[in-house]
Symmetry: C2
Subunit: 193 residues, 2 copies
Amino acid sequence: MDLPPATAAFVLHFGEMGSRWGINRTVGQIYALLFLSERPLPADEIAQKLGFSRSNVSMGLKELEAWRLVRLQHLPGDRREHFSTPEDVWQIVRILAEERRKREVDPTLTLLRDTLMQRPASAEEAHAQARMQSLYEVISLLTGWMDDVQKLPDERLIALLKLGGRVARVLEATERFQEIVTRKPRRRAAKEG
Amino acid sequence: MDLPPATAAFVLHFGEMGSRWGINRTVGQIYALLFLSERPLPADEIAQKLGFSRSNVSMGLKELEAWRLVRLQHLPGDRREHFSTPEDVWQIVRILAEERRKREVDPTLTLLRDTLMQRPASAEEAHAQARMQSLYEVISLLTGWMDDVQKLPDERLIALLKLGGRVARVLEATERFQEIVTRKPRRRAAKEG
DNA sequence: TTGAATTTTCAGAAATTGCTGAACATACGC
DNA sequence: GCGTATGTTCAGCAATTTCTGAAAATTCAA
């Protein structure tokens, strides 16, 4: 591997991380290299820098394209295809979230929905369905939230994340406000009464 | 595999999903089976139901314990260890988030921090560092947010998620309120002026 | 067109990961 | 303690995944 040490460390780390996710080591390393690169790189240069065969790099880039994690471009005076990652890390996060959702979450929701349509044939099956139902609800809520925040512009999303748990306070305040406005009396704990 | 059809479908699906994540097929299936089960199951029963060897199940359960995804208990009058998943799906989500963070995110942050301490030896390395810096910032923000919402009780977390993107409106309102209170004049677009 | 440069495909080799049975370890009732 | 039921480990076989080189396909300039 023909890289400055910090780059090499990052590339190796992402190779390992890649294999903990579904993605394989080669693909993780190619992505990491492109992410750090100053300029778009052609496949043969990637192969040379990482010490992989040209064909392996070709397959890895295909997979990254399928994930929409790299884009292809042509540089003037060079016939080769050059690859790069988006500049903006938030852009990358959004793409990752969409793709993982499409590949992992949606099929799971479909399976759960289909199963929940069936009539359970025994108490055991009824229990299994109840479990699936509660899983379905949690996943729906999480993905619904994701859909929602995906629509926010970067700036708002970042503001929201920075606010973190303090959002809960704002909500509390809003709830109390609602209670007052609708004149619904506050509930009291037994001790208070 | 000796299971009612809906259970079998769910178990197989989670096996596949497991292998898309770092976790392997066996482990995914064991987890899915326990998740749906009405009662805690002993290892030999798991092995029988899924058609795996007893030793394979033993290793799978060890891994699930390391992830804190199953708990072990003893039933009266039975010497065998029985395994179950938490009842509450939100509890499971929290554990998953913590464990993935510990295994995947924290080591990455450490690597980035260490690398960013070094002095770049070239323009190329300086660029790579700048990229790592922006990645570091995004990951920090995301994990900081996660830490924050992890502290909320379930009820509040759920309320927050249900609110989804509408939170942004509350924030906007709050910002405008801040502007008014601090008497900082609202910025106007060119067209308005 | 032609042919050189580049990319893709794919059969099979190499590496990795998963799985099993047998041996070993441990826990528990007696 | 003893013996049996239960749990763990691990060497090695099996299955899967990854990777390569060679060949085929594509692209593009002339």
